[in-house]
């Protein structure tokens, strides 16, 4: 038997968070339903909107693929940062995973950081797949738009991750499963993600620009079609992030 005088120590924070991020990323990419909503769904939407003409799109003078791809990227961010993350976190919460990991040196903040990085890693995979398909379909983006796209993606990720955590930390897991999928469908159809809000019917045309989905869609289209993110979208996304983040911080229940 040996006696050490130094107490057991934690691994460095960077290593802990990197390990958690890799763990979260693998968990999502290995889960069939998660892959369906994060990868298959956006690709189907992209191919469907570009290759078929059952939706009569006003492409504002752009080619169909150039006009649709930014919205599909916005949808991809929503599916990962919101739907996938809300469901994963809700079931981890129910199964006690959040509590168990919170008792390890990872802690609650490390767990949160790992989750956010995991979301970003999955988004990188999504962008590679979606951009690959879009390029094959004739997409010709401006390379100079990349920083603006990254900025829009980060803002959208922040707002939708906050919404995911607010849901996952307050509702039952089964409830989160239903709500997270339903909200994704509703925002996709009427939230100004795929198409500009002004092309939506009636009052939605005015309301959707104020939603995080509409703001993210506008930000992506602004970056890729016009070379800059509209300041109004930035303000809307930051506002949602602050409000939803404050709600999640206050209302999230670990048990």
């Amino acid at each position: 038997m040996s006696v050490e005088t130094t107490p057991p120590a934690a691994a460095p924070a960077v290593r802990r968070i990197a390990a958690q991020a890799a763990f979260e990323t693998r968990a999502i990419l290995r889960n069939g339903e998660q892959l369906l909503v994060t990868i298959v769904l956006p690709v189907l939407v992209l191919v469907g909107l570009v290759q078929t003409s059952f939706l009569d799109l006003d492409t504002q003078g752009f080619s169909r693929i150039d006009f649709v791809t930014p919205g599909v990227l916005a949808l991809a961010v929503m599916s990962t940062a919101f739907t996938s993350q809300a469901i994963a976190t809700a079931f981890d919460r129910r199964n006690g995973v959040l509590r168990l990991m919170a008792t390890t040196p990872l802690g609650r903040t490390g767990l949160l950081a790992g989750k956010v990085l995991g979301v970003l890693a999955v988004e990188v995979v999504q962008v590679v797949v979606i951009a690959g398909v879009a390029l094959a379909l004739g997409w010709r983006p401006e390379l100079g738009a990349l920083p603006a796209v990254v900025g829009a993606g980060l803002l959208g990720t922040a707002a939708f991750t906050a919404l995911a955590l607010l849901l996952a930390g307050t509702l039952r897991a089964e409830g989160v499963l239903a709500v997270a999928n339903l909200v994704l469908v509703l925002l996709t159809v009427g939230g100004g993600v795929l198409l500009p809000a002004e092309q939506l019917a009636g009052p939605l045309a005015h309301a959707a620009v104020l939603l995080p989905s509409g703001a993210l869609g506008e930000a992506m289209r602004g970056a890729l079609l016009h070379g800059s993110v509209p300041p109004f979208s930035v303000v809307i996304l930051l506002g949602w992030t602050a409000a939803l983040g404050a709600g999640a911080a206050r209302l999230f229940r670990w048990h």
Partner: protein, 360 residues
């Protein structure tokens, strides 16, 4: 192995503390060797006190069992010690720290096994263990732990497809992989087959020998009796009895029991009278029931009852003459007993006496 705040505790003392029944209270014991100290803990859910003034102490190199019926407040108490819940009253100190305020300092030194496991379901068993190990600077070898706890056979099986006992073993491995100074195990052997339980108990004993403070909740009497250096019996959010297993089972005035299996429905009044006059010469004084169980009778120094139809348990100062009195009483009634056995009370007897026999 690491010991808590204790340069003062040398290896010899630690080994002694780990191997003698009275070790934790023995010569090596001083205040700073208290690993977990709970004083007057109160925790309410929706205004209802689930833990209500609970005191508990656990020492390094000892197994401390928190024993109690379902809903007694065991898990809530443990969760307050783990920093997962904030107390509504009282103090909790783990290795001298507040588990909530000093969580960052405590997390590397405290291992936790939750009652519901807390394992993510989509990952493979050893993948999960390696992930938890990555949180520590100098974790135990995952391969060695897997070997010890028999995790090899399902190393690549996802947690979702493991049996309850297999999950429990993975969860235990995760609790100890960081070489903790204090380990909290909430019902560690629930759902385990006897072989798994042996493996778990062996690991717990090894941790104890290495100076780790182990706090476990259980309602398995043999687990507490075989493993624990110190038992706290908890009911209705309080500790209602506390001591070594021997101290609890050898309670004053109740050094032994006689158990009789015979025909049901015998009247014990005369037997009690005979036993009482035997033991002290006091005049027999009899009470009816104690309210918990209608068939229990008490007399000076003696308790007698029909614990189940045809099974009679007498508790008191058992002597050779006692047995003669019992058989004489049976002969008077023309009853041939199937068995008459003498013995000390078990921990289960004590537990049921303390917490009642009613289902809840």
């Amino acid at each position: 192995m690491p010991l808590s705040d204790a340069p003062a505790l040398d290896p010899v003392q630690a080994a002694a503390a780990g191997t003698t029944a009275a070790g934790p209270a023995g010569a090596a014991s001083t205040d700073h060797e208290v690993a977990v100290e709970v004083r007057g803990l109160v925790k309410r859910y929706d205004g209802r006190a689930v833990v209500d003034g609970l005191d508990l102490v656990a020492r390094p190199g000892a197994v401390t069992a928190v024993l109690g019926p379902n809903g007694a407040g065991k898990t809530t108490t443990i969760e307050c010690c783990e920093g997962l819940r904030s107390p509504d009253g009282g103090t909790v100190r783990v290795l001298g720290h507040d588990p909530v305020a000093d969580a960052r300092a405590l997390r590397p030194r405290v291992g936790v096994m939750l009652q519901d496991g807390g394992l993510p379901t989509g990952v493979r068993a050893l993948e999960l263990l390696r992930h938890v190990a990555a949180m520590y600077a100098t974790p135990r070898s995952v391969d060695e732990l897997a070997e010890r706890l028999g995790l090899r056979g399902f190393a690549r099986t996802t947690v979702r497809r493991l049996s309850g006992g297999q999950r429990q073993r993975v969860a235990l491995a995760a609790a100890v992989v960081g070489r903790p100074d204090v380990v909290f195990l909430d019902e560690p052997s629930a759902g385990m087959d006897p072989q798994s339980r042996r493996a778990v108990w062996d690991l717990v004993r090894e941790l104890r020998a290495d100076g780790v403070a182990i706090v476990l909740t259980t309602h398995l009497m043999d687990e507490a009796a075989d493993l624990a250096d110190h038992v706290h019996v908890v009911d209705h959010g309080r500790v209602i009895a506390s001591g070594t297993v021997r101290e609890l089972t050898d309670g004053p005035g109740a050094p032994g029991t006689i158990r009789i299996e015979a025909t049901p429905g015998l009247d014990l009044t005369n037997l009690l009278r005979a036993l009482t006059s035997l033991s002290a010469g006091h005049s027999p004084h009899q009470q009816a029931s104690d309210g918990r169980e209608s068939s229990t009778q008490r007399s000076e120094g003696w308790t007698a009852g029909e614990s189940e139809p045809g099974v009679y348990v007498l508790t008191g100062a058992v002597e050779p003459a006692t047995l003669a009195a019992v058989t004489a009483w049976l002969a008077e009634r023309g009853v041939l007993a199937r068995s008459v056995t003498t013995g000390a009370r078990t921990l289960e007897d004590v537990f049921l006496d303390l917490t009642g026999r009613n289902l809840r």
